[in-house]
Symmetry: C2
Subunit: 342 residues, 2 copies
Amino acid sequence: MQETALRNKQWIYRKRPVGRVSHEHYELAENSLAPDIADNEVLVQSRYISVDPYMRIQQAERNSWEEPHPLDIVQRAGVIAQVVESRSSKVAPGDWVLTYSGWQLFAKCHQSEIQKIDPNAAPVTTALGVLGMPGRTAWFGLMEVGQPKPGETVVVSGAGGAVGSLVAQFAKRAGCRVFGIAGGPDKCKYLRDSLHLDGSIDYRAFSTTAALSEEILKQTAGVDVYFDNVGGRITDAVIPQIKLRARIVICGSISQYDGALDAPELGPRFLHHLLFQRARVQGILARDYTHRMDEMLAIVAPWVKRGEIVFPETIVDGFEQLPDALNSLFEGKNLGKLLVRV
Amino acid sequence: MQETALRNKQWIYRKRPVGRVSHEHYELAENSLAPDIADNEVLVQSRYISVDPYMRIQQAERNSWEEPHPLDIVQRAGVIAQVVESRSSKVAPGDWVLTYSGWQLFAKCHQSEIQKIDPNAAPVTTALGVLGMPGRTAWFGLMEVGQPKPGETVVVSGAGGAVGSLVAQFAKRAGCRVFGIAGGPDKCKYLRDSLHLDGSIDYRAFSTTAALSEEILKQTAGVDVYFDNVGGRITDAVIPQIKLRARIVICGSISQYDGALDAPELGPRFLHHLLFQRARVQGILARDYTHRMDEMLAIVAPWVKRGEIVFPETIVDGFEQLPDALNSLFEGKNLGKLLVRV
């Protein structure tokens, strides 16, 4: 048992953002943590801390799927950590675990709050990516709600992101023609060369929604499944190009997270497109499929083990970078899953 | 066999409307029709001619579910007619039939284009209403896509209309709490007193979308199924009040038919509500269920026969009134199914 107090660091969520979230909404606290733990508890040290777009949703003033993230507590987040001390039979010191202990260096967790990770099965970071929440979201969102059929055309927005890059690959494996929408030529090249998509569309290259929409039609000849991570103008451009009985999966609306959840911005009405095409739009959340994680892992983990799935990661070094890393998600700077290594 | 030529009248669709459709987009043609018919043909005389909101969709410049209605032909429409002459074994003179012969007094139809109506089973006009296309739309749209469960809360927009008034009653029979949105105190009184809904909301009584939305929440305490016939600001007010796993059926968007199909108007973005509530929006068309008409009739026709379903009708007299009658749909003047008697 470690006797001396640990120097802990925590990012405390202090102030609700109105627009973009940044370090001004957080306070970096340093404090000491007594290392004593109770029966069935473990002391863990964070190694990789997650920043995810959903965090900004929870900071919006209005309720989303739950109460807004409370002020004056540690920012909640998924964490890949190593066990420092254990009074649980589940894990021993040195073991890797997935926890939800948030933006802090050390945490005490009840054994029910940790999941052991096997570092030999796959890189530990995959527990926050392809074999974790983003993977689950991509898999069930596409398969259960998108219901892709071989030969159909799938369009993914935010295709360079943690979820989008997986959706695109899962759709390819389902026998679909897959087109990714992303920001900038580098991401688009990645979609074609590394993910082997049938086409990519750099939305930044189009100054109007109409021009973007025309390009989408030109490349795809119509959309059967649209997996939407971004909302806003990109989605405005895709919807008029849906085909009969199209399925639109609303997984995220990242373009709207810097304030438009509290005061929605205006966009063109589109319900008539759903009417004409008898199309379906459905929202999904990762948590709806948590209890079915094993189903996804049974299929996707072997693909990962055999190196058949690409899971891009952007890793930022330094605990102090967390708020800026979160902010950078909304500038689309990350390729794949964004993690902060501490 | 009638020997002398018949004096026919036809409303010819001449000019594509930009905003509201009215008589200026039609020409009243009078011509003579030789009464001779071929084998398997019938000559019919129109008795009730339908005006439906979908007609305006087909007049929009852009394609909807099919090519726009051609110019310079008789306005297409459902018609309840009587057989004048028959060279078909299916019907005899005097028989009532449902046809799709459009806005004209007389028409020659192939026997494959008519369906015989039994005037003793139900009033003949029900073939254009509760036992026809509007009934089918209401039944399958609500049951198959809305999937109401007993105890759930259903909101219907355009609840005083041909489809909405039926949806509301079908939802009551499914054990739901049902609230109708309609324009004006008379329609709202009708919804409560004659359709026995749990509540009605006169959208005209609210000057802002926010106030209307608040009233919807106050009356309903949240919406499980929203059956939408109108779109626009009323739908803007309903969507923020949906509950977890809500189903939204897009049956029509009548508020958008006077031009906004060609150049969509702006409204508040709402996809985040679908995300948060994991809700579904789906468009439906009557034609998707044409082949399942018998399923609906097997259930609904006995209700009609026993007088258990109210099917309001607004009947306008005079062939000359057809364009104005169509126009009046968009002013919400009709209660229930609007028909022109000729």
